[in-house]
């Protein structure tokens, strides 16, 4: 196992603490707009998620936990919390789609929409199926607005472990964590750092190809990245990962391919193919430990093939982005051999 440079350092969410208001307030109905406009301090700075449910109280989430929201801001009292109406949900949905459901119906079918600023809104409601596929989502009953925060510098401490200065390339790396542990934030910052490069430190900028299937990584809005992913990054927004990776390899000759949440068999095949073309891979996957990854056939296959040279395990033990362990290719091999695949902590 490699030395963990900032095992005890909490990656602080210090960037763009209140910038979300510029993008989120315009999509909220007037009453909720006022509430969030007045919100300040820690609650606003650390806000990670806004939960709107029809006929239920308004809730927010941060890494400290959940809170109710009343007319005068965050409250711990359920009776003081405001209740969200179905009309407010509908109004939020229409504002998110710019009063044009037809413009985003494909995304809505997948259950989420990207917002300006790289934020994301997830939806639940009544599904209208068609031939075992989701035809459309109607009668929206819940909206989850996830606040995207670019934490510049989050990945800096990892760079020496992930970059091979001799070969001037990035090790094939997989970032592993449970949801909401800062994987995407870390991945975005690493993409930025590798893309911008740092010549004085002997790390030239690389051509980075980003396949952003869920518009979460670069936070593209109308195809334009809203979050800083580096000056040499090319983003394929909303494109299926496997297809996107191959498209980028053929069209943009990247030196590093970045993508979020591998999982499907076709993703594994695309990773294998990309690695064989000489492109470095930097990706994320859900999981806590090697055992979790091995249970997933496509990821397990990639690990058995020793395609990844670095595995970085993240958690939110000391805040999102806490680096728990970094495994080298050899560590993975030996752990697979000895059966030490349990929890990394």
């Amino acid at each position: 196992m490699l030395a963990c440079p900032h095992k005890d350092i909490v990656v602080k969410l210090k960037m763009a603490k209140m910038a979300w208001k510029n993008h989120i307030l315009p999509i909220l109905p007037p009453r909720l707009q006022n509430i969030f406009d007045l919100m300040s301090g820690q609650a606003a700075e650390e806000l990670e998620e806004i939960r709107l449910r029809a006929g239920k109280v308004l809730m927010i989430h941060s890494h400290r936990g959940e809170n109710f929201v009343g007319l005068s801001g965050v409250t711990s009292s359920l009776s003081q919390a405001v209740t969200v109406t179905a009309a407010e949900l509908q109004s939020t949905l229409l504002a998110v789609v710019e009063y044009s459901l037809y413009a985003r119906d494909e995304e809505l079918r997948r259950g989420y929409l990207s917002l300006p600023g790289g934020h994301r809104a997830g939806f639940v409601g009544r599904v209208v199926p068609e031939e075992s596929r989701v035809k459309l989502l109607r009668d929206i009953s819940g909206i989850s607005i996830r606040i995207a925060r670019a934490v510049k510098g989050a990945g800096e401490a990892l760079l020496p472990q992930l970059y091979c200065a001799r070969q001037r390339r990035v090790y094939h790396t997989l970032l592993v964590s449970a949801p909401q542990a800062g994987k995407t934030t870390m991945l975005r910052d690493l993409a930025r750092l590798f893309s911008d490069g740092d010549l004085p430190k002997g790390r030239p900028g690389l051509k980075v190809g980003i396949v952003d299937e869920r518009s979460e990584l670069a936070g593209c809005y109308l195809g334009v990245p809203q979050l800083d992913v580096g000056m040499r990054s090319d983003v394929l927004d909303g494109c299926p990962k496997a297809e996107g990776m191959m498209m980028l390899v053929r069209s943009m000759s990247p030196q590093l391919l970045v993508t979020d949440e591998l999982g499907r068999p076709e993703d594994a095949r695309a990773v294998e193919e990309a690695v064989n073309t000489g492109v470095s891979i930097l990706a994320t996957v859900h999981g806590h430990c090697l055992e979790d990854l091995l249970k997933r056939p496509s990821i397990g296959y990639l690990l058995q093939q020793s395609l990844f040279e670095r595995l970085v395990f993240l958690s939110r033990r000391k805040g999102p982005g806490t680096v728990e362990a970094i495994y080298s290719e050899e560590t993975v091999k030996s752990r697979l051999k000895t059966g030490e695949i349990g929890h990394v902590l």
């Binding site: 789609v97 710019e98 009063y99 037809y102």
Partner: protein, 174 residues
Amino acid sequence: MCFKWAGAVLIVLATALLGNQKAIQMKQRVKQLEEFRLAMRLLMAEIGYTATPLPRALEYVQNRLADERVKQFFAEIVRQLGRPEVGDASLAWLRAIETFRGQLALRTDDWPLIKRAAAGLGGLGRESQLKQLEAVEIQLASHNSMVAANCVRSERMWRYLGMLGGAALVIILL
């Protein structure tokens, strides 16, 4: 005597002008209905081909129209969409109709057709939205061809009527 003739000329000129005004209004009505029809086609292209959201699609449509008043009608919808209390494209369209009802050359029987475009606007999937706008465009086309045929007859009639009405009045007064 000189004043009598001057008055007579003035009367004929005034009634001819009135007749002419009426004829121009009729022509404008046809032109504006045609502009709305073109707007529907442009809007359908924006929705069908690029799925552009309404605020931008309506701006695009507005920039491609020739009639200043109809252009302003579409600008008004975009303006209404920007108001938080409106929050719905149908309502924005209906509010624009209320604002422009007296400012366009359209008549009472034209507005229900324009109003139909508001039904479900922005609240439907792409295919349904296109079908809905196409239906309005077809209705506008048939309505306008009727209005245009009427206009050719009535336009000439109003011009003559203005001139001859003035002349008749002068004869009676003299």
